[in-house]
Symmetry: C2
Amino acid sequence: MSKQQASDQSSGCCAPISVSALDEAQAVDGAAVFKALSDPIRLRLMSMIASAGGEICVCDLTGQFEVSGPTISHHLRVLRQAGLVDCERRGTWVYYWPLPERMKWVSALLSVPETAIA
Amino acid sequence: MSKQQASDQSSGCCAPISVSALDEAQAVDGAAVFKALSDPIRLRLMSMIASAGGEICVCDLTGQFEVSGPTISHHLRVLRQAGLVDCERRGTWVYYWPLPERMKWVSALLSVPETAIA
DNA sequence: TCACTGTCTCGAAGATCATCTAATCAACCA
DNA sequence: TGGTTGATTAGATGATCTTCGAGACAGTGA
C-alpha cells in the first residue's frame, strides 16, 4: 500500500495562478489534484480524513455514505494517487491520514494576494 | 452573457475541511468548483485570466492552445458556470475577468491551519 | 485448519465529458 | 445590404468516469 505517489511537485510551491500563469506541466499536475477533489463523495472523504485529527479507519468512512464498499475503496485510491492521503493496514483495519503539504500546495495555487484584488 | 451564476455560497466562507467535515450540500458545491478546475486547459485558462491583471480578451487566450475555438469557448463557459470568471462583450471582442471571492473561498476550503499540522 | 470480518481488485454497464465540424449570432465596415 | 471577423451554440462521437456485484486477499480467533 501507499506504493504509488503523485509526481513530486508537492513540496516546492509555485506562485499562485493569480500572480503568474501556469506552464503546461504545472497545469497537468494541478488539474490531477483538482480532479481527485471534483467528486462530492471524494471531497467529503477528504474532509472527514483531514478533520479527523490524525487518522481514521475505513470502517468509519464507509458507513457515512450511501454507496457500496468497493466504491468507497475506489474513491480512496483516487485520493491516494493524487497524493492527498496515505494509508496503512494495522491488523484487520486500514487507516487513512491526510498529507497536508499537498493540500497546502493546492490551496496556495488558488490563493489571491491582497495586492491582486485591487 | 453572465446570466447563469453558481449558487451563492461563495461569499460566506465555511471552515477549512481540515478543521470540520463538510456537509453534503457544501461538498456538492465545492466539488463543482473543483471539477471546473480539473482540466489542464481550464486550469491554464483560469490562470491566464487571473494573472492578466484585470481582464483579457478571448482572442488572446485561443491562440495559446492547440484545441479549436469552440472547445476554448466550451471551457470558458464551464469556468463561468462555476462562478470563477465573468465576461462581457465590448464591440467585436469578448473580455473575461476573474472573480477573486470565489477563488478565495475554494482556497480557504483547502487551507491547512498551522495548528492542524502538528 | 476453518470460518468470519474488513478491505481491495476485477470486469461490466451506464452516465458524463472533451473535442470536433457545421451552423448561428453579433459587431463592424464598405 | 452584403461581406468579413470574432465568438458561441448545436449535435455527434469517442474516451473517461462512477458505480456495482462477484470474487480475492489479509488478518483474527475458535
